[in-house]
Assembly symmetry: C2
Homo-oligomer: 412 residues x 2
């Protein structure tokens, strides 16, 4: 008998029929002799409906506390309906709001962090043989105010519950079969990974792979919760997200990803003196623009270029702000480009294999693709290139690193 | 400065525009220097929408606990939106679910009774100068399970809150101007009462007047909470529901009401021995049929007739059950009639004035209306007559008792 947490997102519970499908899956697991806690999101469309209502009255920005009171009703509806559906199949079930399971967070509305969960109340229900049906996304702060974890927060709820009850696995049900070495729509040869490490998953999530919320993976890593990303449509194995020592499939590169949602801004010829970077980036963060890649070349003659990327949706505003800041620090010019793509390779194997980055550059050069920016971490290399080459680059890198399996990369 | 509880029902908060109207009214009261707690229902239509969802999974009957989890989201949405709307008008406001205000009930799902409210948490908010926006209809039991008070329970929530914080008044906003001496659609001469006693209001509610839920009036009477029933469309005074000693307008009869939603069943020629009534009525209560008026004549030759009324919607079933029971107790015959109406006069003055009942019978006789059944209480006389005479009877009784003012009734 295992202790299993199952998480189903909004599209899996979008209507009564799909809720019945989820119930059937849960009951099957319970009847197989396991103890099951299910974490669910709001029925898809529901959060948008509530959001539209809130917009009539100033929305989330003006009313952070009341907005969370409002949108948390979405998950409360789902837990009630799913509990009913499970009970209809003859399996005892009991729903829990965040308050009822003591899911305590800090007081940061709309982006709260989980602090603790009342393990006892959940275990009492599971030990009675009932399925515990839990509202994802929501929490309560120390004062009893309702909080929410931010969109996609149900993944984090599920992992936190799994950690609290020391579950054997946290199953995340999605509309894909698992985590792939690349987007199968772009790379037909992409294959599903059997296992991936927490670190790799975090890098891939930060690069735009949407199967898991990045915060939930960090949480799982910290509390050693094995995650199983699997399909809600069939019963085959998906991808296990596990500690590094269990993750090795012998691949140097586990995944190739790309992201077309960024834009590039270049501040040319700024004096290389302390405080310049702060004067460029502070005005951007003041208006909530998140800067991703930042590159500063070594200075020549006391001047340097500063290049960075921002979300493409913020491009126009970021360019305007940067032009003002550039002027105030005496930059020669500020320009930008929103037809770029970021292409990345991710793999634990890079730690032990020299030359992965330079081989990546060779592969791109062989395809005639010019590299504009480069950033690296211990297990990732990202390059910024012209947008139109994104798919070509991904396919070439996938062929060179993944399809050749675990082969030692060529020497430099 | 007064401490005021205001209650708005589902039609008053049916859409964003109406919520804004309610917010304006609340803010006006607060700006006038009063402390305000507002109790609201779900937006109209919302409970039905949730009910329809629940029906897919066995509904309330099969899932009393989860049904309450589901439908209580309706009020939670309203408190969030109304708080936002009040804040938009520059007035601080803070919403409270039942759990947050410690509105504790017993564990009877869908018909829970209020046991206590956390006075301190509400007073702290009111003393800060913020409006407390409270979810009606819902509660939590001692285990933290969500309960509901039954449809119309928001009236009771409002009165309970008013009692807990010792409010100066509990204002119930409705789509009528107050409590009338008769239904103005039937009796053009009907007039709004300035004041009515709790007892009279309870009788009138039990007779079908829909302005207040009967349980809320009992609660108000027990805790001496003055209720002000008033229009949500304009600011004129409505009707005050108050203790008997403050209620007297000098009227013998305060109201004339009628009810066409009942049917009559007669069990003829049953032996007048102990246990017969139980064998007739137990099978009815076993299936949840509520019997209203019961009449048993004195027996002649050891046999008697037993006549009673049931809700018209239960008539067919009640007749069938009664025919079986009648057979088993050796009744001569069981028949019934669903074309009846109950017409009642209500008034505290009856306590001190003899002959009100017989004058009522004379008034009806003068109109050629035959009386089928009679029941009386200390402050009420009800008669059952042919349905087609209902409006005629109401108008005649209103003319005789109300339009003549406080005149002493004719001697018998």
């Amino acid at each position: 008998m295992s202790l299993i947490v199952q998480k189903f997102g909004g599209t899996s519970v979008a209507d009564p029929e799909r809720i019945q499908n989820v119930a059937a899956r849960v009951v099957e697991t319970a009847k197989a002799g396991h103890r099951v806690a299910v974490v669910v999101s709001a029925m898809s469309g529901e959060t948008d409906r509530l959001d539209t209502l809130a917009e009539q009255f100033g929305g989330r920005e003006e009313n952070p506390r009341e907005y969370d009171v409002l949108v948390s009703t979405g998950e409360q509806v789902t837990i009630a309906l799913l509990s009913m559906s499970i009970r209809q199949l003859g399996q005892p079930a009991r729903s829990f709001t965040a308050a009822q399971m003591g899911l305590r967070t800090d007081a940061a509305h709309s982006r709260a962090r989980i602090e603790r969960i009342d393990r006892e109340v959940l275990m009492a229900t599971l030990e009675e043989g009932a399925v515990a049906v839990l509202a994802g996304f929501q929490g309560v702060d120390a004062e009893g105010n309702i909080t929410t974890l931010g969109r996609g927060g149900s993944d984090t709820s599920a992992v936190a519950v799994a950690a609290a009850i020391e579950a054997d696995v946290c199953e995340i049900y999605t509309d894909v079969d698992g985590v792939f070495t690349a987007d199968p729509r772009v790379v037909p040869a992409a294959r599903k990974l059997e296992r991936i490490s927490y670190d790799e998953m975090i890098e891939m999530a930060s690069l735009g792979a949407k199967v898991l919320q990045i915060r939930s993976v960090r949480f799982a890593m910290r509390y050693d919760v094995p995650i199983h990303v699997r399909s809600s449509f069939h019963k085959g194995e998906g991808t296990w997200v596990v500690p590094e020592e269990e993750a090795m499939e012998g691949l140097v590169v586990s995944g190739v990803s790309f992201n077309k949602k960024e834009a590039k801004i270049r501040v040319r010829g700024v004096r290389d003196v302390p405080g310049v970077a702060a004067r460029i980036f502070t005005p951007l963060s003041d208006v909530g623009i998140v800067v991703d890649v930042i590159i500063q070349n070594l200075s020549q003659d006391g001047a340097t270029d500063l290049t960075f990327t921002v979300p493409r949706s913020d491009y126009a505003r970021a360019l305007q702000i940067s032009q003002q800041s550039g002027e105030s620090v005496g930059a020669e010019a500020v320009d930008g480009d929103d037809e770029i793509a970021k292409v990345s390779i991710v793999g634990l194997g890079m730690k032990d294999h020299a030359g992965v980055a330079s081989r990546m550059f060779s592969v791109l050069a062989d395809e005639g693709i010019n590299i504009q920016l480069i950033t690296t971490s211990e297990i990732k290399v990202s390059v910024v290139i012209e947008e139109k080459y994104a798919e070509l680059a991904v396919r070439a890198l996938h062929a060179a690193f993944v399809e050749t399996g675990a082969a030692e990369p060529q020497a430099e």
